[in-house]
């Protein structure tokens, strides 16, 4: 077979195009490798070393044997689950409302939703502490108005932790959920009504399933962020709500035990990955990762 004219040059330019495209992701790839993959690999390696520096599974063994670790993981999942659930209860109607009003108004409301994200996390957390403590604003007003008589325990417990985490996490649920809802063609709802569906049934049979990818994405982001949340639970939980992150901090700050801390980190990472995979089974993965409505 004879070669077509210019075939070689054309082939080379196609190859060049492919490589230059790859060049675009090179910086990100490098960053991920240096800041993510290498440290995680290093942590994993550390978690397999005993205090004496020899290879052992003692950190994992300790986690398995001491019930306090199981309790910590349980608390972590409990806080994450409850935060996610409360965020859904608060965020779903909000997102629905935002997706129904004119876009310009919705954008203004969106700024209000995002405002907390632009304020320092520490400031917000300590602000809640001031509001919720025994002699705080909420308790003072509640007692003065005669709503309750004794100061309520609103911080340094699960309730306080949840108030703080929900406040921080709500935007992460609303953002993907709102954009998924916005993307739903309202003609689907008109069609459902035309075919005989009452507003309630058209919501359950058409709107809810179409908004599902956005809901799963948002819920997953909130849940995963909660699993590793440190500042807010540590401050508002007041040492009574101990999450994995607090325990990791303790291991390092107090006991200088990198191995134990690493093992906790690895277990948390594995559980998180399993969760993402499970969620991926629930809804088509492209919907979850794409963060928006399906086509």
């Amino acid at each position: 077979m004879t070669e077509l004219p210019n075939a070689r040059t054309l082939r080379r330019s196609a190859l060049f195009e492919r490589w230059s495209l790859l060049g675009l992701v090179a910086p990100a790839l490098l960053l991920i490798t240096v800041t993510m993959l290498l440290p995680v690999g290093w942590l994993f390696y550390l978690s397999l070393l005993s205090d004496a520096g020899e290879f052992s599974l003692e950190h994992y063994q300790r986690m398995w044997e001491h019930p306090s670790y199981a309790r910590t993981f349980w608390t972590t999942f409990q806080v994450s689950f409850l935060t996610t659930a409360i965020c859904i209860v608060l965020g779903y109607p909000l997102s629905y409302f935002l997706s129904e009003i004119p876009k310009r108004a919705a954008n203004l409301c969106m700024i209000a939703v995002l405002l907390p994200l632009w304020t320092s996390l520490l400031v917000r957390t300590y602000a809640w502490l001031v509001l919720l403590q025994r002699r705080g604003l909420v308790n003072n007003w509640g007692i003065e108005l005669g709503l309750w008589e004794e100061p309520l325990a609103l911080v340094h417990n699960l309730a306080g932790t949840l108030i703080g985490t929900v406040h921080v996490m709500l935007p992460f649920l609303v953002l993907p959920l709102y954009s998924a809802m916005r993307a739903i063609d309202r003609n689907y709802l008109r069609a459902a009504a035309n075919l005989g569906a009452s507003p309630l049934r058209s919501f359950w049979l058409v709107f809810f399933p179409l908004a599902m990818p956005g809901l799963v994405t948002g819920a997953l982001i909130v849940f995963i962020l909660c699993l590793g949340f440190y500042v807010t639970p540590a401050v508002l939980g007041g040492g009574k709500v101990i999450m994995v992150s607090s325990r990791i901090a303790n291991d390092i700050e107090i006991f200088f035990n990198w191995g134990a801390a690493s093992a906790l980190g690895v277990v948390l990472l594995v559980l998180t990955v399993l969760l993402v995979l499970a969620a991926g089974r629930l809804v088509r993965m492209d919907g979850v990762l794409g963060g928006g409505g399906s086509k």
Binding site: D185, N187, Y188, R190, A191, A192, A193, N194, L195, G196, A197, S198, P199, R201, S202, L205, V206, P209, L210, S294, K295
Partner: protein, 357 residues
């Protein structure tokens, strides 16, 4: 499938957006079993009228009856009318069969019967056996048919269609026009069809309501609409047309110093318009004389446009008014040549004087 149908009676239906009338006191009687098309340019109010029928648009006032029942306050899900949407609005999270079975499921029909009736409806649109497919596995034409099957599976007595063929390519569109019409004749439900495509409207309809600025400009059969338009808007919107300014006095129609015979006698005096269709005009040969039923116009050829199946001759009357004549493609005529144009008096349509806007 049942062949029951209902008449639709629209009276005084009005919808305003700010100072603009989307619907301006619309009155329209649609006969039982009729295929009626709402034809108009975009923004004319035709789609608004259809969404009022479906219940998606809440008008400011008026009356809408299906048969004897007042429907204007009834919510859309209780109206029991079928509708085919412009972009089909097939539920993307359901299979073809689930889409078609959806209205039956809502009506509490048993699972086995749903499957059977959905399959039968799919058969009618020649998509038997496609039930298990996803919506994204269908071509545009197939989606169109599924939308149609879903709209008729619950045997509505009224069917609404919002430009259902506009997303299809030309060939498929023309094919579907005939198929839709045949389906209508078979099932017999009253059909209200919205389009901006005049040819589609002429092809499919029993009657056409031409709509502009929220008002019905003319309601007539396709033939009457084309051959006897009542006003300039309808004449311009449907088909090609040329308008000659004439002066009517004492019942005689004067074009310059010539008197024209018109299809219908002039009723009012004053300046008016005569409408001519290019394909109804004929160039007279050398020495040829048209009989008394024809008007003859003298003109000068300005240009000839070759259009494949015919030629369009642009001619100027002595006073400079331009008019188009459709003719054969054989033989060339040089620009500047003197022409004589014959038009039958039945094709010389005097338009009613424009009502002040």
């Amino acid at each position: 499938m049942s062949n029951a149908s209902l008449p639709i009676s629209i009276a005084q239906v009005t919808k305003r957006y700010g100072p603009m009338y989307a619907l301006d006191h619309v009155d329209l009687e649609i006969r039982s079993g009729e295929f009626l098309t709402l034809l108009g340019p975009s923004g004319s109010g035709k789609t608004t009228l259809l969404t009022v029928l479906a219940g998606f648009t809440r008008p400011d006032g008026g009356s809408l009856k299906f048969g004897d029942a007042e429907m204007i306050t009834v919510p859309p899900h209780k109206r029991n009318v079928g509708m085919v949407f412009q972009n089909y609005a097939l539920f993307p999270h359901m299979s073809v069969a689930d889409n078609v079975g959806f209205p039956l499921k809502l009506r509490g029909v048993g699972t086995a019967e749903i499957a059977q009736r959905a399959e039968r409806a799919l058969d009618m649109v020649r998509l038997g056996g496609y039930g298990k497919r996803g919506i994204d596995q269908l071509s545009g034409g197939q989606r169109q048919r599924v939308a149609l099957a879903r709209a008729m599976v619950f045997e509505p007595r009224i069917m609404l269609m919002d430009e259902p063929l506009s997303a299809l390519d030309k060939q498929l569109r023309e094919h579907m026009q005939i198929e839709l019409r045949q389906l209508h004749d078979k099932l017999g439900m009253t059909t209200v069809y919205v389009t901006h495509d005049q040819r589609e409207a002429l092809t499919m309809s029993d009657r056409i309501a031409v709509i502009n600025s929220g008002r019905i400009m003319q309601l007539d059969t396709p033939r009457a609409l084309y051959e006897r338009p009542k006003n300039r808007f309808v004449a311009e919107f449907i088909g090609e047309s040329t308008f000659l300014p004439v002066l009517v006095s004492g019942g005689r129609v004067h074009l310059g110093d010539q008197v024209l015979q018109t299809a219908e006698p002039a009723k009012t005096d004053g300046p008016q318009l005569v409408m001519l269709r290019p394909e109804r005009l004929r160039l007279l040969g050398e020495g040829e004389v048209a009989d008394d039923a024809f008007n003859t116009l003298d003109a000068t050829l300005v240009a000839t446009v070759y259009q494949g199946d015919s030629s369009l001759f642009q001619a100027a009357l002595p006073d400079g008014t331009l008019l188009s004549v459709r003719g054969g493609t054989a033989g060339a005529i040089a620009p500047g040549a003197k022409l004589r144009i014959a038009v039958h008096c039945k094709d010389t349509v005097l338009l009613a004087p424009e009502a002040p806007a």
